[in-house]
Amino acid sequence: MTIRNAHPKTALKLGAALLLAGALTLSGCAKKAPAELPPPPAPTTAVETPAPATVSGPTPGSQADFVASMMGQDTIYFDTDRYNIDNADAAALTAQAQWLMKYPGKKATIEGHADERGTREYNLALGERRATAAKNYLVSLGLDAGRLTTVSYGKERPVALGSDEASWAKNRRAVTVTID
Protein backbone atom coordinates (compact mmCIF):
# COMPACT_ATOMS: atom_id res chain seq x y z
CA MET A 1 0.00 0.00 0.00
CA THR A 2 1.24 3.42 -0.80
CA ILE A 3 -0.02 6.43 1.02
CA ARG A 4 0.59 8.63 -1.98
CA ASN A 5 -2.06 6.87 -4.02
CA ALA A 6 -4.45 6.24 -1.20
CA HIS A 7 -8.01 7.45 -1.33
CA PRO A 8 -8.17 10.89 0.32
CA LYS A 9 -10.29 9.61 3.20
CA THR A 10 -7.94 6.69 3.81
CA ALA A 11 -5.03 9.09 3.77
CA LEU A 12 -6.79 11.32 6.28
CA LYS A 13 -7.38 8.42 8.66
CA LEU A 14 -3.80 7.32 8.32
CA GLY A 15 -2.65 10.86 8.91
CA ALA A 16 -4.78 11.10 12.02
CA ALA A 17 -3.37 7.84 13.33
CA LEU A 18 0.15 9.03 12.75
CA LEU A 19 -0.61 12.35 14.36
CA LEU A 20 -1.91 10.56 17.42
CA ALA A 21 1.23 8.48 17.53
CA GLY A 22 3.26 11.63 17.31
CA ALA A 23 1.33 13.20 20.12
CA LEU A 24 1.96 10.19 22.34
CA THR A 25 5.67 10.27 21.60
CA LEU A 26 5.92 13.88 22.55
CA SER A 27 3.43 13.98 25.37
CA GLY A 28 6.12 14.31 27.99
CA CYS A 29 7.79 17.41 26.63
CA ALA A 30 5.67 19.28 24.11
CA LYS A 31 4.86 22.32 26.15
CA LYS A 32 3.71 24.83 23.61
CA ALA A 33 3.70 22.90 20.39
CA PRO A 34 0.15 21.91 19.48
CA ALA A 35 -0.89 18.54 20.88
CA GLU A 36 -1.14 16.86 17.49
CA LEU A 37 2.40 17.77 16.56
CA PRO A 38 4.80 16.79 15.14
CA PRO A 39 3.62 16.04 11.63
CA PRO A 40 4.65 12.54 10.62
CA PRO A 41 7.73 12.70 8.48
CA ALA A 42 8.18 9.01 7.79
CA PRO A 43 5.50 8.14 5.20
CA THR A 44 6.76 10.27 2.31
CA THR A 45 10.30 9.12 2.87
CA ALA A 46 9.26 5.51 3.01
CA VAL A 47 7.15 5.86 -0.10
CA GLU A 48 9.84 7.53 -2.11
CA THR A 49 12.59 5.12 -1.23
CA PRO A 50 12.71 2.34 -3.80
CA ALA A 51 12.23 -1.02 -2.13
CA PRO A 52 15.32 -3.17 -2.60
CA ALA A 53 15.38 -6.86 -1.79
CA THR A 54 16.73 -6.40 1.70
CA VAL A 55 15.09 -4.56 4.54
CA SER A 56 16.06 -0.92 4.27
CA GLY A 57 15.54 2.54 5.65
CA PRO A 58 16.94 5.81 4.42
CA THR A 59 20.64 5.96 3.62
CA PRO A 60 22.45 6.59 6.91
CA GLY A 61 23.64 10.19 7.10
CA SER A 62 21.18 11.46 4.49
CA GLN A 63 18.55 14.14 5.03
CA ALA A 64 15.93 11.40 4.81
CA ASP A 65 17.74 9.57 7.60
CA PHE A 66 17.88 12.78 9.63
CA VAL A 67 14.15 13.38 9.25
CA ALA A 68 13.33 9.77 10.10
CA SER A 69 15.67 9.75 13.11
CA MET A 70 14.37 13.03 14.50
CA MET A 71 10.74 11.87 14.54
CA GLY A 72 9.52 15.45 14.41
CA GLN A 73 12.37 16.89 16.44
CA ASP A 74 13.90 18.42 13.32
CA THR A 75 11.48 21.29 14.04
CA ILE A 76 11.17 23.46 17.12
CA TYR A 77 8.26 25.78 17.91
CA PHE A 78 7.94 29.27 19.33
CA ASP A 79 5.37 31.41 21.10
CA THR A 80 4.02 34.52 19.40
CA ASP A 81 6.83 37.04 18.76
CA ARG A 82 9.23 34.92 20.88
CA TYR A 83 12.48 33.24 19.93
CA ASN A 84 13.67 31.70 23.20
CA ILE A 85 14.69 28.03 23.42
CA ASP A 86 12.56 26.23 26.00
CA ASN A 87 12.96 22.71 27.38
CA ALA A 88 11.17 20.99 24.53
CA ASP A 89 13.24 22.94 22.00
CA ALA A 90 16.43 22.11 23.90
CA ALA A 91 15.61 18.39 23.82
CA ALA A 92 14.95 18.55 20.08
CA LEU A 93 18.12 20.50 19.38
CA THR A 94 20.12 18.06 21.51
CA ALA A 95 18.82 15.18 19.41
CA GLN A 96 19.73 17.11 16.26
CA ALA A 97 23.22 17.82 17.58
CA GLN A 98 23.78 14.16 18.42
CA TRP A 99 22.86 13.13 14.91
CA LEU A 100 25.00 15.85 13.35
CA MET A 101 27.98 14.82 15.47
CA LYS A 102 27.71 11.30 14.11
CA TYR A 103 28.17 12.72 10.60
CA PRO A 104 30.84 15.40 10.94
CA GLY A 105 30.93 16.07 7.19
CA LYS A 106 27.29 17.12 7.15
CA LYS A 107 26.19 20.72 6.91
CA ALA A 108 22.76 21.99 7.79
CA THR A 109 20.53 24.99 7.17
CA ILE A 110 18.12 26.18 9.83
CA GLU A 111 14.98 27.69 8.34
CA GLY A 112 13.20 30.24 10.52
CA HIS A 113 9.49 30.91 10.07
CA ALA A 114 6.73 33.10 11.49
CA ASP A 115 2.96 32.84 11.44
CA GLU A 116 0.78 34.95 9.14
CA ARG A 117 -0.31 37.29 11.94
CA GLY A 118 2.64 39.61 11.61
CA THR A 119 3.77 42.20 9.12
CA ARG A 120 5.88 40.83 6.29
CA GLU A 121 9.20 42.56 6.93
CA TYR A 122 9.14 42.13 10.69
CA ASN A 123 8.40 38.45 10.18
CA LEU A 124 11.46 38.08 7.98
CA ALA A 125 13.60 39.50 10.77
CA LEU A 126 11.77 37.38 13.36
CA GLY A 127 12.32 34.18 11.35
CA GLU A 128 16.01 35.01 11.15
CA ARG A 129 16.10 35.58 14.89
CA ARG A 130 14.47 32.19 15.56
CA ALA A 131 16.80 30.37 13.17
CA THR A 132 19.77 32.06 14.82
CA ALA A 133 18.54 31.10 18.30
CA ALA A 134 18.42 27.46 17.18
CA LYS A 135 21.84 27.72 15.56
CA ASN A 136 23.38 29.31 18.66
CA TYR A 137 22.00 26.52 20.81
CA LEU A 138 23.46 23.86 18.50
CA VAL A 139 26.82 25.63 18.61
CA SER A 140 26.61 25.74 22.43
CA LEU A 141 26.28 21.95 22.30
CA GLY A 142 29.60 21.75 20.52
CA LEU A 143 28.70 21.88 16.83
CA ASP A 144 31.02 23.85 14.58
CA ALA A 145 29.25 27.10 13.61
CA GLY A 146 30.76 26.77 10.14
CA ARG A 147 28.53 23.76 9.47
CA LEU A 148 25.33 25.70 10.11
CA THR A 149 23.64 28.41 8.07
CA THR A 150 20.35 30.18 8.68
CA VAL A 151 17.66 31.41 6.34
CA SER A 152 14.41 33.16 7.18
CA TYR A 153 11.22 32.69 5.23
CA GLY A 154 9.17 35.01 7.44
CA LYS A 155 5.51 34.18 6.88
CA GLU A 156 6.03 33.16 3.26
CA ARG A 157 6.13 29.36 3.73
CA PRO A 158 3.53 28.15 6.22
CA VAL A 159 3.04 24.40 6.81
CA ALA A 160 -0.40 24.71 8.40
CA LEU A 161 -2.85 26.56 6.18
CA GLY A 162 -5.58 27.61 8.58
CA SER A 163 -6.09 31.08 10.01
CA ASP A 164 -6.41 29.92 13.61
CA GLU A 165 -4.26 29.56 16.73
CA ALA A 166 -3.49 25.89 16.09
CA SER A 167 -2.17 26.60 12.59
CA TRP A 168 -0.20 29.63 13.70
CA ALA A 169 1.46 27.60 16.48
CA LYS A 170 2.66 25.06 13.87
CA ASN A 171 4.02 27.80 11.64
CA ARG A 172 6.10 29.61 14.30
CA ARG A 173 9.03 27.28 13.86
CA ALA A 174 12.65 26.65 13.03
CA VAL A 175 13.34 23.61 10.87
CA THR A 176 16.78 22.05 10.58
CA VAL A 177 17.47 20.67 7.12
CA THR A 178 20.71 18.79 6.46
CA ILE A 179 22.35 19.25 3.11
CA ASP A 180 22.82 16.09 1.09
Partner: protein, 463 residues
Protein backbone atom coordinates in the same frame (compact mmCIF):
# COMPACT_ATOMS: atom_id res chain seq x y z
CA UNK B 1 10.56 58.13 -26.76
CA UNK B 2 9.64 61.64 -25.82
CA UNK B 3 6.73 62.77 -23.79
CA UNK B 4 6.49 66.39 -24.61
CA UNK B 5 4.41 68.92 -22.81
CA UNK B 6 3.43 71.31 -25.58
CA UNK B 7 3.98 74.98 -25.09
CA UNK B 8 0.66 76.71 -25.21
CA UNK B 9 1.25 78.27 -28.60
CA UNK B 10 1.58 74.84 -30.18
CA UNK B 11 -1.92 73.95 -29.14
CA UNK B 12 -4.02 73.29 -32.16
CA UNK B 13 -6.99 74.95 -30.66
CA UNK B 14 -5.98 77.99 -28.78
CA UNK B 15 -8.62 79.91 -26.98
CA UNK B 16 -8.99 83.01 -24.97
CA UNK B 17 -8.41 81.40 -21.64
CA UNK B 18 -9.57 83.48 -18.76
CA UNK B 19 -8.60 81.38 -15.81
CA UNK B 20 -10.72 81.72 -12.73
CA UNK B 21 -8.45 83.05 -10.01
CA UNK B 22 -9.97 80.93 -7.27
CA UNK B 23 -11.96 77.72 -7.25
CA UNK B 24 -13.16 76.30 -4.00
CA UNK B 25 -11.87 72.74 -3.58
CA UNK B 26 -15.19 71.74 -2.08
CA UNK B 27 -17.67 73.49 -4.34
CA UNK B 28 -20.99 74.62 -3.02
CA UNK B 29 -23.67 72.08 -3.71
CA UNK B 30 -26.23 73.02 -6.27
CA UNK B 31 -29.72 71.61 -6.15
CA UNK B 32 -30.51 69.38 -9.08
CA UNK B 33 -33.64 70.57 -10.75
CA UNK B 34 -36.48 68.04 -11.09
CA UNK B 35 -36.52 68.68 -14.79
CA UNK B 36 -32.93 67.58 -15.11
CA UNK B 37 -33.70 64.31 -13.34
CA UNK B 38 -36.10 63.34 -16.09
CA UNK B 39 -33.43 63.84 -18.68
CA UNK B 40 -31.95 60.64 -19.95
CA UNK B 41 -28.47 59.47 -18.98
CA UNK B 42 -25.74 61.91 -18.18
CA UNK B 43 -25.21 63.39 -14.81
CA UNK B 44 -28.69 63.18 -13.45
CA UNK B 45 -28.36 59.95 -11.51
CA UNK B 46 -27.83 61.71 -8.21
CA UNK B 47 -30.98 60.23 -6.69
CA UNK B 48 -29.45 56.80 -6.29
CA UNK B 49 -25.94 58.09 -5.71
CA UNK B 50 -24.43 57.09 -2.38
CA UNK B 51 -21.37 59.31 -2.56
CA UNK B 52 -21.11 62.37 -0.31
CA UNK B 53 -23.22 65.32 -1.36
CA UNK B 54 -20.32 67.62 -2.06
CA UNK B 55 -19.13 65.53 -5.02
CA UNK B 56 -18.59 67.66 -8.05
CA UNK B 57 -20.37 66.53 -11.22
CA UNK B 58 -17.95 66.43 -14.14
CA UNK B 59 -19.00 65.56 -17.69
CA UNK B 60 -16.28 63.88 -19.76
CA UNK B 61 -17.59 63.26 -23.29
CA UNK B 62 -15.58 61.59 -26.06
CA UNK B 63 -12.59 63.59 -27.23
CA UNK B 64 -13.07 64.88 -30.76
CA UNK B 65 -10.68 64.43 -33.66
CA UNK B 66 -9.99 66.55 -36.72
CA UNK B 67 -9.86 63.44 -38.89
CA UNK B 68 -10.61 59.83 -38.02
CA UNK B 69 -7.42 58.05 -39.02
CA UNK B 70 -5.72 54.85 -37.94
CA UNK B 71 -3.22 54.98 -35.07
CA UNK B 72 -0.69 52.53 -33.72
CA UNK B 73 -2.47 52.38 -30.37
CA UNK B 74 -4.48 49.59 -28.81
CA UNK B 75 -7.50 51.91 -28.90
CA UNK B 76 -7.69 51.94 -32.70
CA UNK B 77 -8.34 55.01 -34.83
CA UNK B 78 -8.28 58.56 -33.50
CA UNK B 79 -12.05 58.41 -33.00
CA UNK B 80 -11.75 55.22 -30.93
CA UNK B 81 -8.88 56.81 -29.08
CA UNK B 82 -11.02 59.87 -28.30
CA UNK B 83 -13.50 57.67 -26.49
CA UNK B 84 -10.80 55.64 -24.74
CA UNK B 85 -9.14 58.81 -23.46
CA UNK B 86 -12.42 60.04 -21.98
CA UNK B 87 -12.93 56.60 -20.38
CA UNK B 88 -9.50 56.61 -18.75
CA UNK B 89 -10.01 60.15 -17.39
CA UNK B 90 -13.44 59.22 -16.03
CA UNK B 91 -12.02 56.16 -14.32
CA UNK B 92 -9.14 58.18 -12.81
CA UNK B 93 -11.45 60.80 -11.34
CA UNK B 94 -13.75 58.24 -9.73
CA UNK B 95 -13.27 56.82 -6.25
CA UNK B 96 -11.37 59.62 -4.61
CA UNK B 97 -14.28 61.24 -2.86
CA UNK B 98 -14.09 64.57 -4.65
CA UNK B 99 -15.80 64.09 -7.98
CA UNK B 100 -18.72 62.41 -9.62
CA UNK B 101 -17.49 61.99 -13.17
CA UNK B 102 -19.72 60.85 -16.01
CA UNK B 103 -18.00 59.19 -18.92
CA UNK B 104 -18.61 59.21 -22.66
CA UNK B 105 -21.08 56.31 -22.75
CA UNK B 106 -23.84 58.42 -21.24
CA UNK B 107 -23.06 61.71 -22.94
CA UNK B 108 -23.51 63.40 -26.31
CA UNK B 109 -20.39 63.72 -28.40
CA UNK B 110 -19.09 67.21 -29.06
CA UNK B 111 -17.89 68.17 -32.51
CA UNK B 112 -14.28 69.14 -33.17
CA UNK B 113 -15.20 72.81 -33.26
CA UNK B 114 -17.04 72.61 -29.93
CA UNK B 115 -13.88 71.59 -28.07
CA UNK B 116 -12.91 75.25 -27.71
CA UNK B 117 -16.46 76.57 -27.85
CA UNK B 118 -18.65 74.21 -25.80
CA UNK B 119 -22.41 74.21 -26.10
CA UNK B 120 -22.84 75.18 -22.44
CA UNK B 121 -26.62 75.02 -22.67
CA UNK B 122 -26.52 71.27 -23.30
CA UNK B 123 -24.25 70.65 -20.31
CA UNK B 124 -26.02 72.87 -17.81
CA UNK B 125 -29.26 71.20 -18.86
CA UNK B 126 -27.73 67.87 -17.82
CA UNK B 127 -26.71 69.19 -14.43
CA UNK B 128 -22.99 69.13 -15.17
CA UNK B 129 -20.99 71.52 -13.06
CA UNK B 130 -17.69 70.93 -14.80
CA UNK B 131 -16.96 69.89 -18.36
CA UNK B 132 -13.86 68.23 -19.80
CA UNK B 133 -13.34 68.54 -23.53
CA UNK B 134 -10.42 67.34 -25.55
CA UNK B 135 -9.18 66.36 -28.95
CA UNK B 136 -6.84 63.82 -30.57
CA UNK B 137 -4.78 64.42 -33.65
CA UNK B 138 -2.56 61.93 -35.45
CA UNK B 139 0.63 63.56 -36.66
CA UNK B 140 2.55 62.75 -39.82
CA UNK B 141 5.42 61.18 -37.89
CA UNK B 142 3.10 58.69 -36.16
CA UNK B 143 2.98 60.60 -32.91
CA UNK B 144 -0.23 61.81 -31.31
CA UNK B 145 -1.25 65.20 -30.02
CA UNK B 146 -3.88 65.34 -27.29
CA UNK B 147 -5.45 68.53 -25.99
CA UNK B 148 -7.43 68.81 -22.76
CA UNK B 149 -9.74 71.62 -21.62
CA UNK B 150 -11.62 72.11 -18.37
CA UNK B 151 -14.68 74.37 -18.31
CA UNK B 152 -16.87 75.66 -15.54
CA UNK B 153 -20.36 75.17 -16.93
CA UNK B 154 -22.15 77.71 -14.75
CA UNK B 155 -19.54 80.37 -15.34
CA UNK B 156 -19.21 79.37 -19.01
CA UNK B 157 -15.48 79.76 -18.70
CA UNK B 158 -12.37 77.76 -19.39
CA UNK B 159 -10.45 77.02 -16.17
CA UNK B 160 -7.36 75.29 -17.48
CA UNK B 161 -5.99 73.56 -20.56
CA UNK B 162 -3.06 71.37 -21.50
CA UNK B 163 -1.61 69.63 -24.53
CA UNK B 164 0.85 66.82 -25.05
CA UNK B 165 2.58 65.18 -27.99
CA UNK B 166 3.45 61.53 -27.41
CA UNK B 167 4.46 58.35 -29.20
CA UNK B 168 1.42 56.08 -29.69
CA UNK B 169 2.55 53.70 -26.92
CA UNK B 170 2.17 56.52 -24.38
CA UNK B 171 -1.40 57.50 -25.26
CA UNK B 172 -2.77 56.59 -21.84
CA UNK B 173 -0.34 58.99 -20.24
CA UNK B 174 -2.07 61.92 -21.94
CA UNK B 175 -5.34 60.83 -20.34
CA UNK B 176 -3.64 60.65 -16.94
CA UNK B 177 -2.06 64.07 -17.55
CA UNK B 178 -5.50 65.48 -18.40
CA UNK B 179 -7.01 63.86 -15.28
CA UNK B 180 -4.13 65.32 -13.23
CA UNK B 181 -4.82 68.76 -14.69
CA UNK B 182 -8.51 68.56 -13.79
CA UNK B 183 -7.82 67.05 -10.37
CA UNK B 184 -5.27 69.64 -9.31
CA UNK B 185 -7.22 72.59 -10.71
CA UNK B 186 -10.38 71.59 -8.88
CA UNK B 187 -8.96 70.17 -5.65
CA UNK B 188 -5.94 72.37 -5.11
CA UNK B 189 -3.91 69.19 -4.52
CA UNK B 190 -0.82 68.02 -6.40
CA UNK B 191 -1.36 65.62 -9.30
CA UNK B 192 -0.75 61.86 -9.06
CA UNK B 193 -2.46 59.91 -11.84
CA UNK B 194 0.51 59.89 -14.22
CA UNK B 195 2.56 57.59 -12.03
CA UNK B 196 3.44 53.93 -11.71
CA UNK B 197 3.12 51.26 -9.06
CA UNK B 198 5.46 48.39 -8.29
CA UNK B 199 4.06 45.41 -6.41
CA UNK B 200 4.29 41.67 -5.83
CA UNK B 201 2.08 39.43 -7.97
CA UNK B 202 1.02 36.29 -6.10
CA UNK B 203 -0.22 32.97 -7.44
CA UNK B 204 -0.46 29.40 -6.22
CA UNK B 205 -1.40 27.67 -2.97
CA UNK B 206 -0.86 29.29 0.42
CA UNK B 207 2.14 27.13 1.38
CA UNK B 208 3.93 27.44 -1.97
CA UNK B 209 2.96 30.87 -3.15
CA UNK B 210 4.80 32.18 -6.20
CA UNK B 211 5.76 35.84 -5.70
CA UNK B 212 6.84 37.90 -8.67
CA UNK B 213 7.94 41.47 -8.99
CA UNK B 214 5.57 43.40 -11.27
CA UNK B 215 4.90 46.98 -12.35
CA UNK B 216 1.87 48.81 -13.73
CA UNK B 217 0.44 52.27 -14.29
CA UNK B 218 -1.43 53.89 -11.39
CA UNK B 219 -4.72 52.61 -12.82
CA UNK B 220 -3.49 49.04 -13.33
CA UNK B 221 -2.88 49.38 -17.09
CA UNK B 222 0.40 48.49 -18.87
CA UNK B 223 1.00 45.62 -16.50
CA UNK B 224 4.38 43.89 -16.73
CA UNK B 225 6.08 41.10 -14.78
CA UNK B 226 9.72 41.80 -13.98
CA UNK B 227 10.78 38.50 -12.42
CA UNK B 228 9.86 34.94 -13.37
CA UNK B 229 8.85 33.69 -9.94
CA UNK B 230 11.64 31.14 -9.57
CA UNK B 231 12.94 33.09 -6.58
CA UNK B 232 10.56 34.65 -4.05
CA UNK B 233 10.39 38.42 -4.62
CA UNK B 234 9.09 40.81 -1.95
CA UNK B 235 8.77 44.47 -0.89
CA UNK B 236 9.65 46.51 -4.02
CA UNK B 237 10.25 50.27 -4.01
CA UNK B 238 10.38 52.38 -7.18
CA UNK B 239 13.38 54.68 -7.53
CA UNK B 240 12.30 58.34 -7.61
CA UNK B 241 13.54 58.52 -11.24
CA UNK B 242 11.76 55.26 -12.25
CA UNK B 243 14.99 53.85 -13.66
CA UNK B 244 15.35 51.12 -11.09
CA UNK B 245 13.60 49.19 -8.37
CA UNK B 246 14.77 48.08 -4.96
CA UNK B 247 13.39 44.75 -3.84
CA UNK B 248 14.07 41.63 -1.82
CA UNK B 249 14.82 38.43 -3.70
CA UNK B 250 15.65 34.86 -2.67
CA UNK B 251 17.86 34.64 -5.75
CA UNK B 252 20.66 32.21 -4.70
CA UNK B 253 18.47 30.96 -1.88
CA UNK B 254 18.86 33.69 0.72
CA UNK B 255 16.90 36.92 1.21
CA UNK B 256 18.90 39.90 -0.03
CA UNK B 257 18.11 43.39 -1.29
CA UNK B 258 18.87 44.08 -4.94
CA UNK B 259 18.73 47.13 -7.16
CA UNK B 260 17.05 46.07 -10.40
CA UNK B 261 17.86 48.29 -13.39
CA UNK B 262 14.71 48.58 -15.51
CA UNK B 263 16.59 49.65 -18.62
CA UNK B 264 19.22 46.90 -18.70
CA UNK B 265 17.30 44.22 -16.82
CA UNK B 266 20.34 43.63 -14.62
CA UNK B 267 20.44 43.61 -10.86
CA UNK B 268 23.08 44.05 -8.19
CA UNK B 269 23.28 43.51 -4.45
CA UNK B 270 23.14 46.76 -2.50
CA UNK B 271 25.79 45.49 -0.12
CA UNK B 272 28.29 42.65 -0.29
CA UNK B 273 27.51 40.82 2.91
CA UNK B 274 26.69 37.27 3.82
CA UNK B 275 24.00 38.55 6.19
CA UNK B 276 20.33 38.72 5.18
CA UNK B 277 19.02 42.15 4.20
CA UNK B 278 15.40 43.30 4.30
CA UNK B 279 13.09 46.29 3.95
CA UNK B 280 14.68 48.52 1.29
CA UNK B 281 13.73 52.22 1.00
CA UNK B 282 14.89 55.19 -1.08
CA UNK B 283 15.58 58.63 0.25
CA UNK B 284 13.28 61.21 -1.41
CA UNK B 285 16.17 62.48 -3.58
CA UNK B 286 17.17 58.97 -4.61
CA UNK B 287 20.72 59.38 -3.32
CA UNK B 288 20.45 57.04 -0.35
CA UNK B 289 19.13 53.59 0.28
CA UNK B 290 17.94 52.43 3.67
CA UNK B 291 18.00 48.72 4.39
CA UNK B 292 17.80 46.48 7.41
CA UNK B 293 20.35 43.75 8.04
CA UNK B 294 20.32 40.88 10.54
CA UNK B 295 23.59 39.94 12.21
CA UNK B 296 23.41 37.13 14.73
CA UNK B 297 19.62 37.41 14.81
CA UNK B 298 19.73 41.11 15.64
CA UNK B 299 18.35 43.43 12.95
CA UNK B 300 19.47 47.05 12.51
CA UNK B 301 18.88 49.79 9.95
CA UNK B 302 21.68 50.93 7.65
CA UNK B 303 22.09 53.69 5.10
CA UNK B 304 24.21 53.36 1.96
CA UNK B 305 24.84 55.53 -1.10
CA UNK B 306 22.53 54.57 -3.96
CA UNK B 307 25.37 55.07 -6.42
CA UNK B 308 27.01 51.96 -4.98
CA UNK B 309 30.47 51.37 -3.61
CA UNK B 310 30.19 53.43 -0.44
CA UNK B 311 30.51 52.19 3.11
CA UNK B 312 27.19 51.50 4.83
CA UNK B 313 26.38 53.62 7.89
CA UNK B 314 24.65 51.85 10.75
CA UNK B 315 21.79 53.99 12.09
CA UNK B 316 20.37 51.87 14.90
CA UNK B 317 22.20 49.90 17.53
CA UNK B 318 19.85 48.33 20.04
CA UNK B 319 19.10 44.69 20.86
CA UNK B 320 16.06 43.50 18.95
CA UNK B 321 14.57 44.12 15.55
CA UNK B 322 14.95 47.62 14.08
CA UNK B 323 13.51 47.53 10.60
CA UNK B 324 12.05 49.55 7.72
CA UNK B 325 12.45 53.27 7.77
CA UNK B 326 10.93 56.09 5.78
CA UNK B 327 12.44 59.53 5.26
CA UNK B 328 10.55 62.74 5.93
CA UNK B 329 10.07 64.61 2.63
CA UNK B 330 12.91 67.01 3.43
CA UNK B 331 15.22 64.06 4.14
CA UNK B 332 16.10 65.26 7.66
CA UNK B 333 14.35 62.53 9.67
CA UNK B 334 13.54 58.85 9.44
CA UNK B 335 10.53 57.09 10.92
CA UNK B 336 11.08 53.37 11.59
CA UNK B 337 9.87 50.34 13.47
CA UNK B 338 11.55 48.72 16.47
CA UNK B 339 10.67 46.09 19.08
CA UNK B 340 13.33 47.34 21.53
CA UNK B 341 10.62 48.02 24.10
CA UNK B 342 8.94 44.60 23.63
CA UNK B 343 6.50 44.64 20.72
CA UNK B 344 6.71 46.55 17.45
CA UNK B 345 6.44 50.32 17.93
CA UNK B 346 7.17 53.42 15.86
CA UNK B 347 10.25 55.58 16.41
CA UNK B 348 11.63 58.72 14.78
CA UNK B 349 15.34 59.57 14.47
CA UNK B 350 17.47 62.12 12.65
CA UNK B 351 18.75 60.96 9.26
CA UNK B 352 22.18 60.32 10.82
CA UNK B 353 20.67 57.99 13.43
CA UNK B 354 20.81 60.43 16.35
CA UNK B 355 18.00 61.30 18.75
CA UNK B 356 15.87 58.13 18.50
CA UNK B 357 12.47 58.61 20.10
CA UNK B 358 9.40 56.42 20.32
CA UNK B 359 6.24 58.17 19.08
CA UNK B 360 3.55 55.44 19.28
CA UNK B 361 1.86 55.18 22.68
CA UNK B 362 -1.71 54.10 21.99
CA UNK B 363 -1.72 50.40 22.81
CA UNK B 364 -1.32 47.43 20.50
CA UNK B 365 1.61 47.15 18.14
CA UNK B 366 2.51 49.69 15.47
CA UNK B 367 4.42 48.63 12.35
CA UNK B 368 5.52 49.63 8.82
CA UNK B 369 5.49 53.44 9.22
CA UNK B 370 5.67 55.51 6.01
CA UNK B 371 6.03 59.27 5.99
CA UNK B 372 3.56 61.14 3.79
CA UNK B 373 5.15 63.00 0.86
CA UNK B 374 3.46 66.10 2.29
CA UNK B 375 5.21 65.55 5.59
CA UNK B 376 2.17 66.03 7.82
CA UNK B 377 1.19 62.40 8.48
CA UNK B 378 2.68 58.96 9.00
CA UNK B 379 0.75 55.95 7.75
CA UNK B 380 1.31 52.61 9.49
CA UNK B 381 -0.14 49.21 10.35
CA UNK B 382 -1.85 49.12 13.74
CA UNK B 383 -2.02 45.64 15.25
CA UNK B 384 -4.54 45.19 18.02
CA UNK B 385 -6.49 42.06 17.16
CA UNK B 386 -6.99 42.97 13.54
CA UNK B 387 -4.41 44.68 11.33
CA UNK B 388 -5.64 48.14 10.32
CA UNK B 389 -4.19 50.98 8.29
CA UNK B 390 -4.00 54.16 10.34
CA UNK B 391 -2.35 57.58 10.27
CA UNK B 392 -0.75 59.68 13.00
CA UNK B 393 0.99 63.03 13.05
CA UNK B 394 4.82 62.95 13.08
CA UNK B 395 4.66 63.55 16.84
CA UNK B 396 2.52 60.42 17.28
CA UNK B 397 -0.75 62.18 18.05
CA UNK B 398 -4.13 62.21 16.30
CA UNK B 399 -4.44 58.47 15.60
CA UNK B 400 -7.03 57.90 12.89
CA UNK B 401 -8.01 54.57 11.35
CA UNK B 402 -8.48 54.44 7.60
CA UNK B 403 -9.47 50.77 7.28
CA UNK B 404 -11.12 48.03 9.29
CA UNK B 405 -10.51 44.52 8.02
CA UNK B 406 -8.93 41.27 9.20
CA UNK B 407 -5.45 41.98 7.91
CA UNK B 408 -4.45 45.20 6.12
CA UNK B 409 -0.75 46.01 6.10
CA UNK B 410 2.18 47.82 4.49
CA UNK B 411 0.71 51.25 3.61
CA UNK B 412 2.50 53.43 1.06
CA UNK B 413 1.48 56.87 -0.19
CA UNK B 414 0.28 58.29 -3.47
CA UNK B 415 2.76 60.88 -4.78
CA UNK B 416 0.52 63.72 -3.57
CA UNK B 417 -0.10 62.29 -0.10
CA UNK B 418 -3.88 62.09 -0.57
CA UNK B 419 -4.28 58.33 -0.94
CA UNK B 420 -2.83 55.42 0.99
CA UNK B 421 -2.26 52.11 -0.72
CA UNK B 422 -1.86 48.83 1.16
CA UNK B 423 -2.52 45.12 0.81
CA UNK B 424 -5.33 43.14 2.34
CA UNK B 425 -5.04 39.44 3.17
CA UNK B 426 -8.13 37.26 3.31
CA UNK B 427 -8.51 35.15 6.42
CA UNK B 428 -8.13 31.43 5.70
CA UNK B 429 -7.33 31.44 2.00
CA UNK B 430 -4.43 33.87 2.39
CA UNK B 431 -5.43 35.56 -0.86
CA UNK B 432 -4.15 39.10 -1.23
CA UNK B 433 -5.16 42.25 -3.08
CA UNK B 434 -4.04 45.85 -3.35
CA UNK B 435 -6.42 48.46 -1.98
CA UNK B 436 -6.46 52.22 -1.94
CA UNK B 437 -8.15 54.46 0.59
CA UNK B 438 -8.33 58.24 0.75
CA UNK B 439 -7.46 60.16 3.89
CA UNK B 440 -11.08 60.36 5.02
CA UNK B 441 -11.18 56.55 5.14
CA UNK B 442 -14.52 56.66 3.34
CA UNK B 443 -13.42 55.93 -0.19
CA UNK B 444 -11.85 52.51 -0.45
CA UNK B 445 -11.30 50.54 -3.60
CA UNK B 446 -9.51 47.43 -4.80
CA UNK B 447 -7.00 47.99 -7.55
CA UNK B 448 -7.52 45.68 -10.53
CA UNK B 449 -4.59 43.28 -10.92
CA UNK B 450 -4.34 40.18 -13.14
CA UNK B 451 -3.59 37.95 -10.14
CA UNK B 452 -3.41 38.38 -6.35
CA UNK B 453 -1.21 41.28 -5.28
CA UNK B 454 0.70 42.60 -2.27
CA UNK B 455 3.39 45.10 -1.22
CA UNK B 456 2.28 48.03 -3.40
CA UNK B 457 4.71 50.93 -3.77
CA UNK B 458 3.92 54.11 -5.67
CA UNK B 459 6.50 56.02 -7.67
CA UNK B 460 6.41 59.82 -8.11
CA UNK B 461 4.41 61.76 -10.69
CA UNK B 462 6.16 61.52 -14.04
CA UNK B 463 7.52 64.72 -15.57
Amino acid sequence: MSFRRLPLFVLLLSSAAVAQPQMSPQPVVTATSPAAEQDEGGLTGSVSDETPWQDLGIAIPTFATNADVATQTSAGSTAGLGRALADVITSDLKNNGLFKPTGPDALPQPSFGQIVAPDFGVWSGRGAEMLVHGYVRANGDGSLTVGCYLYDVALRQQLVKGGWQVPPSDWRRTAHKCADLVYSRLSGESPFFDSKIAYIAETGPKDRRMKRLAIMDSDGANHRYITTGQAIALTPRYAPDYRSLLYLSYFNGYPRIYVYDLETGKQRLITQSTNPTFAPRWSPDGKWILYSMAIGGNTDIYKISAAGGGEPQRLTNTPGINIGGSFSPDGSKIVFESDRSGGQQIYVMNADGSDQKRISFFGGRAATPEWSPRGDQIAFTHIAGNFRIAVISPSGSNLRYLTDSWQDEAPTWSPNGRIVQFFRTEKGSGRTGIWQVDLTGRNERKLPTPVDASDPAWGPVRP
